[in-house]
């Protein structure tokens, strides 16, 4: 067996450390060791985006990142969007605009929308669709997802985070 390594990073604002084999995928560490089951395992082949997390300001598919690559990283999962019992504007918007049906893709979709709106606070519909192209909704509920992201953009513009 390969040598295990201790990896430390910031997860939703808290320092965490975990010991992993180099081959352990980030999604497995998050779900099975750190009990963050928001990010989902959909395809495990970097197609579906259900495992999307925010890693050092980038949306990544945590099924295609090794945990050992994350030493010193700053990570945000869907669990970190809510602050002090208040839903993030993206979460509120998904709730109000019915931006989910079965909900499986929702954590990845919202984490991706969070990063999109940081980079482009006022995206066009076309820009939203291009930006969420790496997140598949198996219910095909894209219309309301796009509306939710548009609504979240308006909420964030009204009250700067």
């Amino acid at each position: 067996m390969a040598k295990t390594q201790t990896v430390s990073f910031k997860l939703n604002g808290k320092d965490v450390a975990t010991t992993v084999e180099p081959r352990e995928l980030l999604i497995h560490t998050l779900r099975e060791k750190l009990m963050h089951t928001g990010p989902h395992i959909g395809c495990e082949t970097s197609h579906c985006g259900a495992c999307t997390v925010d890693l050092d300001g980038k949306s990544v598919k945590s099924c295609t990142v090794l945990t050992v690559q994350c030493d010193g990283a700053d990570m945000l999962t869907v669990e970190g969007l809510e602050q002090g019992g208040t839903l993030h504007a993206v979460q509120q918007a998904f709730h109000e605009a019915h931006g989910l049906q079965c909900g499986f893709c929702t954590p990845g979709m919202m984490t991706r929308a969070y990063r999109l709106l940081k980079e482009n606070p006022n995206p066009t519909e076309q820009e939203i669709r291009y930006a969420i192209a790496g997140n598949l909704c198996r219910c095909t509920g894209y219309q309301n997802i796009v509306k939710a992201v548009q609504s979240a953009a308006k909420k964030l513009a009204a009250v700067p985070a």
Partner: protein, 289 residues
């Protein structure tokens, strides 16, 4: 989907990475963005005993103009290419091409150097590099060498990169003022490889093609330069006849593999169509430039 076990190394400098690569030898693979290698390792198509992660080497990132060239660190991500103001101004073909690669999450991780070194004819940078007449800096224990993109791609997953060498930098000549370029890519869906794609860089003088380079993605074992098509167009105006002839000559060098994207005839026809469209768009852009 778990890979075979391996040891992980994260060098902080190019010399350290080269040293590791020399010491660990054939059992080691370089890890760039990981979006080709890790999927292959999960499927156990690859099972290196050591992974050398280039992700912590700051000197391998960045885009800068040096003289009449743009120098791009091999670990620069597709996301960084897409959002580079310098590239948008000087080499918009690269911005257009990178924006058509995979999806946003993959573009945050995927790197230009990894895309080129992997030697997959379905990757997009090889054809872009051929069209742009780029050069690659290969660094090894014996020092650096600079090789042309044209001639670098030897076959399926095979390039001029020797064991012990790392592709460290990509050098792209700034296209002449008044050039037009285009990358036209047909894909079944976001994230898929090209069914067919064509990169074109063109200079136009007096309404005629003064110089053109044409390169094809996923049309054979490597990206292909369509030289006969280039020669046939040079000195000609762009019209239906000249476009059809260029497309015919590009199709003639295609040897696509039949797969779920289509049979060989279909892919060849789509290569012709992408070539026609890329030439048309590049011409229009050159006229406006």
């Amino acid at each position: 989907m778990i890979t075979a076990p391996f040891d992980y190394h994260a060098p902080r400098s190019v010399p350290d990475a080269i040293k590791l690569l020399s010491t660990l030898g054939d059992d080691a693979k370089l890890l760039a963005g990981g979006h080709s290698l890790l999927p292959m390792m999960k499927l156990r198509f690859a099972a290196p005993a050591h992974l050398i992660d280039l992700g912590k080497i700051a000197e391998l990132r960045g885009i800068a103009q040096v003289g009449n060239e743009i120098h791009i660190g091999a670990m620069t991500t597709e996301h960084e290419l897409v959002n580079s103001r310098l590239l948008a101004e000087k080499v918009p073909l690269l911005v257009e091409g990178a924006g058509l690669i995979a999806d946003p999450q993959v573009r945050y991780k995927g790197t230009i150097g990894g895309d080129i070194s992997h030697g997959d004819p379905g990757n997009d940078h090889p054809a872009l590099m051929l069209a742009l007449d780029a050069s690659f800096v290969l660094s090894g224990a014996k020092g650096e060498r600079v090789v042309k993109a044209d001639g670098y791609f030897l076959g399926l997953y095979s390039t001029l990169l020797e064991p012990g060498e790392i592709l460290t930098q990509i050098r792209v000549p700034v296209p002449a003022p008044g050039s037009g370029a285009a990358y036209q890519k047909l894909k079944r869906k976001t994230g898929d490889f090209a069914t067919a794609a064509t990169a074109v860089l063109m200079q136009v003088k007096g309404g005629k093609v003064a110089k053109v380079s044409i390169a094809l993605t996923n049309a054979g074992a490597t990206a292909l330069r369509a030289r006969e098509a280039e020669a046939a167009l040079t000195g000609k105006a762009i019209n239906d006849a000249s476009l059809n002839e260029a497309a015919r000559l590009a199709m003639a060098i295609c040897e696509p593999m039949a797969d779920l994207r289509g049979d060989a005839d279909y892919k060849r026809a789509m290569c012709g169509e992408m070539t026609r469209r890329a030439l048309q768009v590049a011409y229009e852009r050159a006229a406006k430039a």
